[in-house]
Symmetry: C2
Subunit: 345 residues, 2 copies
């Protein structure tokens, strides 16, 4: 069974960004980028991997892929996990002082995230080349943004189950998730003192239909994950996941997600094909073949317009969760192989 962890102990560093002017026109005062590193930066700073964080996760939830003997081997690589804004560790509605807190937390984009992460890597560590950027879902979107915003810095990318530009259907799916969360009166338009637990749980129940595939349920694969029934899976996995989170943080991350677009910036001025074409990194783009909200067709379009990319879908009943959750061993192996291939290139 999944164990969602919270930050009971501080095992990460914080990079102080100062007052951060955001892309959409507000300021994030005294902005903080929480991060964790693994391994050691080598002398010529050529062994850097950036591993990004997905929706409603922190570095805690992502660091399981880092292990000796694995592709992301900390004895070989210097691996940085920067926490996405809104996740509760980096600047978020839950940890930003008034007046920019709670419902007033400003709109942060992927562009803002990647610019801040770039400062961490360059100002703090003097890094000029990244061997690989990778991540799942919202972290895949950040991966695409890294490659488009810093094409000369990023050597390879491996975005899994995510997109370079948020599809309209994906936007609608997220509207449903958000509507369930905010239907709870306890949400109080974001000005709650106590978490709107009913809404957070409803959010989890809505997500439960989207995360895995129809086949996953047809084959009763939740049983293999240690749950006793469908309802047990909904409560134990989905409700638990979101019940542990801050509601405004969820809304903030959804906002980031919904506005995802690698071309929405001064480099590409909304020309999505141009932005895809500008990605120099060798890429293995890995959608889940049964992903219900990042369908492989969108990844195929991206790969078609990237100069050095391969489409390599997961063949997995885990839908969106193929390759991200670590729950299905075949997916983990498939991903590890792609990582090794990119790191060896």
């Amino acid at each position: 069974m999944a164990q969602w962890k919270l930050d009971k102990e501080v095992d990460y560093e914080v990079f102080e960004l100062g007052d951060l002017k955001l892309q959409k026109g507000m300021t994030l005062p005294d902005a903080k980028l929480a991060y964790k590193t693994f391994g050691r930066l080598n002398a010529d700073k050529s062994n850097v991997i950036v591993l990004l964080t997905y929706m409603a996760s922190t570095h805690y939830d992502n660091q399981w892929v880092i292990r000796e003997g694995g592709a992301l081997d900390p004895s070989k690589y210097f691996i940085v996990i920067p926490n996405v804004f809104g996740n509760g560790l980096s600047s978020s509605p839950s940890n930003t002082p008034a007046p920019y807190n709670k419902a007033r937390f400003p709109h942060v984009t992927y562009y803002d995230n990647i610019k801040a992460q770039h400062r961490l890597l360059t100002e703090k560590f003097g890094i000029t080349k990244i061997k690989m950027v990778t991540g799942w879902s919202m972290a895949a979107a950040q991966t695409f943004h890294w490659a488009a915003l810093y094409p000369d810095m990023v050597e390879t990318i491996c975005p899994t189950a995510g997109s370079a530009k948020t599809a309209k259907h994906n936007h609608v799916m997220l509207e449903g998730v958000k509507a369930a969360l905010t239907a709870d009166d306890a949400f109080k338009d974001g000005w709650y003192d106590e978490q709107p637990f009913k809404g957070l749980r409803a959010m989890g129940r809505v997500y439960a239909g989207w995360g895995f595939s129809q086949e996953f349920f047809r084959k009763e694969e939740y049983l293999e994950l240690g749950y006793a029934s469908v309802e047990d899976f909904i409560v134990g996995y989905w409700e638990q996941w979101f019940n542990l989170r801050d509601a405004n943080n969820m809304v903030a991350m959804i906002r980031t997600w919904q506005s995802g677009d690698i071309s929405d910036n001064e480099l590409y001025n909304g020309d999505f094909r141009k932005a895809l074409g500008a990605i120099k990194a060798k890429a293995i783009v890995m959608p889940g073949d049964c992903d219900l909200y990042f369908p492989p067709e969108d990844s195929a379009f991206e790969v078609e317009h990237m100069p050095n990319a391969e489409l390599r879908p997961f063949r997995s009943s885990h839908g969106h969760f193929a390759g991200g959750s670590g729950l299905r061993k075949a997916d983990v192996k498939f991903l590890d192989e792609a990582w090794r291939e990119l790191l060896a290139s």
Copy 2:
């Protein structure tokens, strides 16, 4: 743009069922089956079509398919539309007197619906043969139930975008819809005096991601339906649809839907393959090829185990809504042809 209609005027009949013992062990007192008929029953009663009603719809929303020159031609056929229990016209939480009203409305199954509809057809009209039973979504489920419960009475069936047994993934998707509705404190566990409008609208927003396909949004087909944007479509189509409904009625119909299973009765004792195999009707089973909650794989399984069935998927970007909504002309034509074929057989 879609025009959801309410029963401002009574244009239907009511068949009095008396105190109805339900399959799951409660009584629906003074139960009523609202229905509407079109055309005239011929002398040998051989021209009967049963058209069923889908989730959150009444006969009003379904009767658009009945027209002179169409397959369901009222100058040739006697067409009966019985309203599903819970839809606000037949016995429902909203119109049943205490103590069986509101949150206490009992669990009604498809079995109960079809048994009641059978009484209408036999007791009221003396019908012994049905030329065709058809319907979309929840109405397709009722169609399958008709064929399995009365194999010697039903000559042909055309279930579109629905299943003979509710899939577990479909169950989970509905849990999300229900969670959004009931997250609104105004729902008051069903004991509201005023409708929980925030919850009803949230329910619509959750449904918005499921109803059509990713391709529908990729191609911006909501523009062709007369909406100005994605948000306009969500509000004007989805929120409007559910905003007009009674919350407890929605919950009651979801409960019926979730427990759908043609083998859950004394005839088949849970043997799903046996129930499918017992269907004598010539069948054209029509899933949408992009349906997100009734995937064609489940229809293929059904057809494989039915003795006289053909799988004929809609090739349509409208996902679940292919063939049901009437919004896409090619789907309407495709369905009309299948109906004609069955009626001519």
